[in-house]
Structure formats: C-alpha cells, structure tokens
C-alpha cells in the first residue's frame, strides 16, 4: 500500500488527486491537505468581479466529493516539511495544522510515501506598501472573495457615475515583479464593457498600469502570432484593442506604494510618479509560502527544498537573458534531493523569467514574473501523477512522462466582455509557452499557426464553455477524464 499526499486543492492539486484516485486501486491511499474547503475555478473570478457571476457559480465544496471518491481530505495548512521523518517518526511527513472543524488549531504529522506540493503561490500583498484587497480603494480578483468585494465597490462606483460623478479606474499589476497580467487584462476589458452596458462609459477614464515593457508581454516576452491572414505582434494586437476601447496605458511601472486612491510607481527611467483613482484592481506579486524543511535530526534543510518556490529538475544556475534556453525549464517537476517529492503548477521555482529582465535607472527590477497558471498547472499535475503511478507499479520507472513549458502549448481564452450576444473574447494560443529561439529563430521562438490570436463573440462562448466543462471535470462527473487539461 502506498500513501500519496497532495498539498493544495487548486487546479494542480485537484487534477493530481483526481487522476491518482482514478488510476490507482483502493489499496493505495490518496490524501489531500488544503486549507481551502472549496474548489474554485479561478479563471472565472473576473466575472464575479463584474457581478455577472456569483461565487457559488464558480466553486463547490471539496469534502463531499472527496468522501464519495475515497480521497481522504484534511482541511489543514502545511506548517513544515520533514522529508526524512524525525527521531519519533521514521516515515517522511508534513506537519499540518487544521484550520476548520473540531480539530481546528491542532497539528498532525501527515506521513507519506510520495508528496505532491501543489500549494500554488502566496498572494504577496505585503510586498507593496498599502496594497490589501478592499483597502485604499484597491481590489483584487485573485480569489472569489476578493472578486466579490471588487464587484461591490465597482457597483457603488457605477451608481455614483449614474449620478454624474466623473471617475478614474486603474487596473493592472500592483508590484514591479507581478505576474498574471492576463487576469488583469481580462478584468479591464470586462469592466470597460460593463460601464458601456450601464451607459456610464463616458464618465470614467480607464487606465492600464503594468510592469510589462510592451503591451501584450503577459510575462511571456510577448508573441509573434497569426491573426487571420496577418502576422502581428501581441503588442500590436493589445494596442489595437485598447485603442478601440479607449483605454490608456502606463508601461514599465513598478507600483511600490498604494495610498487612499493613489498608486505610487517607479518607471524604467527611474522616475517616481503617481496615479490617482476611484477604483483600482491591482494584481499583487506572487511568492512562495515561506515553508521550512528539517532533516531527521531537526537540522534546517530548507535550501534543499525551496528557493522561494520548490526546487525541481530545472537548471537554476544564474545566466544572462541571452543564454537562457528551454532546456533550463523542468520536465518532471521532481525535487533533485528527494525523489518522492514533486511540485507541479505554480509551486515550482522557475529557473528564471521568460520576459527579458529590465531594471530601472535606480536598479529596481521591473519585469513580469513567468506565468504558470491554468493549463500548464493542470498538465504538469497530471504528468506528475502519471510518473508517481509508474514509480508505484515499477520501482525502476524512468519518469518518462515529461512536460517542459518549452515543449507545451497553452491557450489563453481571455474574456473581453460578458454576454451571449454582446460578449467578446480574445483567444490566444501559444506554442511553446517558453520561446525556443533555436527551434523557431525567425518567429520569436514560437511556431506560427500554433501561436495565433483572434477576437470576437466566439471567444466569449469558448471561455464560457470551458468554465462549464472544467467545473464538470473538477466535480469528477461521468467521463470527466476525457476532458483534457
């Protein structure tokens, strides 16, 4: 009998747990440890943030599903990692603290044979002074509760606009090294469309603020993409959309402080500027959770497991942008020190960025961090589950399930407005996610055709279809596993 512990029940954790349970017989134990009692389909948070969906539309409780599917669920947070056990416990374990129920506050050593760390990111609001969801008129859509709060504030502002108040709306990144520009991009377009629907668009000045050097960078160094019969840069595509929607933009901005209605930022030129607003949605930086790890004697071995996020089979040797290659990126997400520990999704430490790193004249790094959200999270979690199953069935298994972001396609179906007839979506696919400049030297590291963009109502329908399909899949309804990650 083998015991597999999955930390986290987000996209990566839930995908790994559900595939393990489906493919392994009941003699093997699958345990999920997560402080969140609900599964949430994060890509739809933006629709909660404009009031077009309720939180209940994008989440469901995990405990009943896991009970039905024979997955042991502990609503607890990981406290520390003990990959060699300790003087009393010979098996490796995670020290977890319950956060709900009768056991709330009690700690437990959760032993394992294999560990999947899918804890995702910590939303590092503290890295930006004054940035906290719902404070200083600044909001977030990173969770459904944040998104709900954002909508309440935006709804209030729409009322004021209807009464004749001119307003300023600021949406983008809230830190010099934030990632997830895509979520902010979707949100700004949805907010703009909602203002038009409420007939108050002329009462608001909408501004995009971002740590990107170019529009359309998205933390992926931008893209050269097929657009109908044209070939254009993602920069041109996003510029065209912002011009069309009357959205102004501020680029290369490292927001470092937020006060009541004012965002302070540093530019790549080294200037310190500020932007006032009546409503803001700023994505914070992501960081690791600050876990500690100990060996069997209680010695601190955090450096063997973590480098902010978890260390995996990537090449972490520092090198300049010109020497970055796709081979630096991990393939199996296995920790090099402990072969029974894996970290798919956002939990793994990337070897470096994807976008070209840039510093301000004052030496501040103002560069988007690499995205690993959504589809790559699901794909890497499934391949980790498949490799663990292989290792259980054959101890000499060679981890042949591989999925480097340098050899993986991704789709970003960005909502640009909600509505069955008035909605819009910007569908972008990219292959590979991390540009391979050796393989595709003339097309900015990506394969044209597989890297394409299109705008229109069909994109909204597709995003809505994916919302329902992935919630169906997450609820493990009949034939759920036929839906790809």
């Amino acid at each position: 009998m083998t015991k597999i512990v999955v930390l986290g029940a987000g996209i990566a954790g839930h995908v790994a747990a559900s595939h393990l349970r489906r493919k392994l017989s009941r003699e093997h134990e699958v345990v999920v440890v997560s402080p969140n009692g609900n599964y949430q389909w994060i890509p739809s948070n933006i629709w909660v943030g404009i009031g077009r969906m309720k939180p209940r539309d994008i989440l469901f409780p995990l405990a009943p599903l896991y009970a039905k599917k024979h997955i042991d669920f502990k609503q607890a947070k990981a406290v520390s990692f003990h990959p060699e056990g300790d003087s009393q416990e010979i098996k490796p374990y995670i020290l977890a603290e319950y956060v709900a129920g009768n056991e709330n506050g009690t700690q437990e050593k959760v032993t394992y044979d294999y560990l999947i760390n899918a804890t995702g990111p910590k939303l590092n609001f503290e890295a930006t002074e004054g940035l906290s969801p719902g404070k200083n008129k600044a909001h977030s859509v990173c969770t459904y509760t944040h998104a709900q709060e954002a909508w309440i504030a935006l709804e209030g502002l729409i009322k004021q606009m209807k009464e004749g108040k001119k307003t300023r709306i600021l949406i983008g990144t809230g830190h010099a090294k934030s990632t997830c520009q895509g979520a902010a991009f979707e949100y700004i377009l949805n907010v703009e469309q909602e203002l038009r629907r409420h007939k108050v668009r002329d009462m608001a000045e909408i501004t995009w603020i971002s740590n990107e050097y170019h529009l359309g960078d998205f933390g992926m160094d931008g893209m050269l993409l097929s657009y109908g019969s044209d070939i254009m840069k993602s920069k041109e595509m996003v510029e065209m959309i912002f011009e069309d929607r009357g959205i102004r933009w501020i680029l290369g901005a490292g927001v470092h402080k937020v006060e009541d209605g004012v965002a302070h930022y540093e530019t790549l030129d080294g200037e310190y500027k500020q932007e006032s607003y009546d409503f803001a949605m700023l994505i914070p930086s992501f960081s690791g959770h600050g876990f500690k790890a100990y060996d069997k004697n209680g010695g601190d071995i955090t450096d063997k497991l973590f480098k902010g996020f978890m260390i995996v089979d990537a090449d972490y040797s520092p090198k300049p942008y010109e020497e970055w290659t796709v081979q630096d990126w991990p393939e199996t997400y296995q920790n090099p020190s402990y072969a029974n520990i894996f970290a798919p999704g956002i939990a793994f430490a990337p070897p470096h960025g994807i976008s070209k790193p840039r510093k301000s004249k004052n030496g501040t790094d103002i560069t988007p961090a690499p995205p690993r959200t959504g589809m790559p999270s699901g794909i890497t979690a499934k391949l980790v589950a498949d490799n663990i199953i292989g290792m259980i069935k054959n101890p000499n298994h060679d981890l042949h399930h591989k999925g480097s972001m340098g050899n993986m396609g991704a789709a970003c179906i960005a909502s640009a407005g909600f509505g069955m007839t008035k909605g819009s979506g910007i569908s972008i696919t990219t292959y590979p996610i991390v540009p391979d400049f050796k393989k595709y030297p003339d097309t900015h590291g990506r394969k044209l055709g597989k890297t394409f963009g299109t705008i229109g109502l069909a994109g909204h329908w597709l995003k809505l279809a994916l919302h329902h399909a992935f919630l169906y899949k997450a609820k493990m309804k009949p034939f759920w596993w036929l839906i790809p990650e």
Binding site: E239, G403, G406, K422, T429, T454, G456, L457, P484
Partner: protein, 44 residues
C-alpha cells in the same frame, strides 16, 4: 501607427452566425494545440 478595428471586422467579430462557425473552428483548433501533446526538451 496603431492598427484599428474596421467596421467590417467588427461586424464579423460580433455576427452570431459567423461566430458560431468560428466557435466550432476555434474549439477544434485549441483542442488540437493543447491536447496535441507535450514532452521534454533535453533529449530533443
């Protein structure tokens, strides 16, 4: 000079009949790209 969305393109983008066929095409294309496989890079 920033590109602009022409009136004709906007009509195509928002016409439900055209977009229905686009939806089918897009779904298949995205599925092919995304489910088209992934792998390592070091022994390629």
């Amino acid at each position: 000079m920033t590109r602009r969305i022409s009136k004709f393109k906007r009509f195509v983008m928002m016409n439900p009949i055209i977009q229905f066929f686009k939806f089918i095409y897009l779904s298949i294309k995205v599925l092919v790209i995304v489910a088209g496989g992934h792998g390592g890079t070091r022994n390629a």
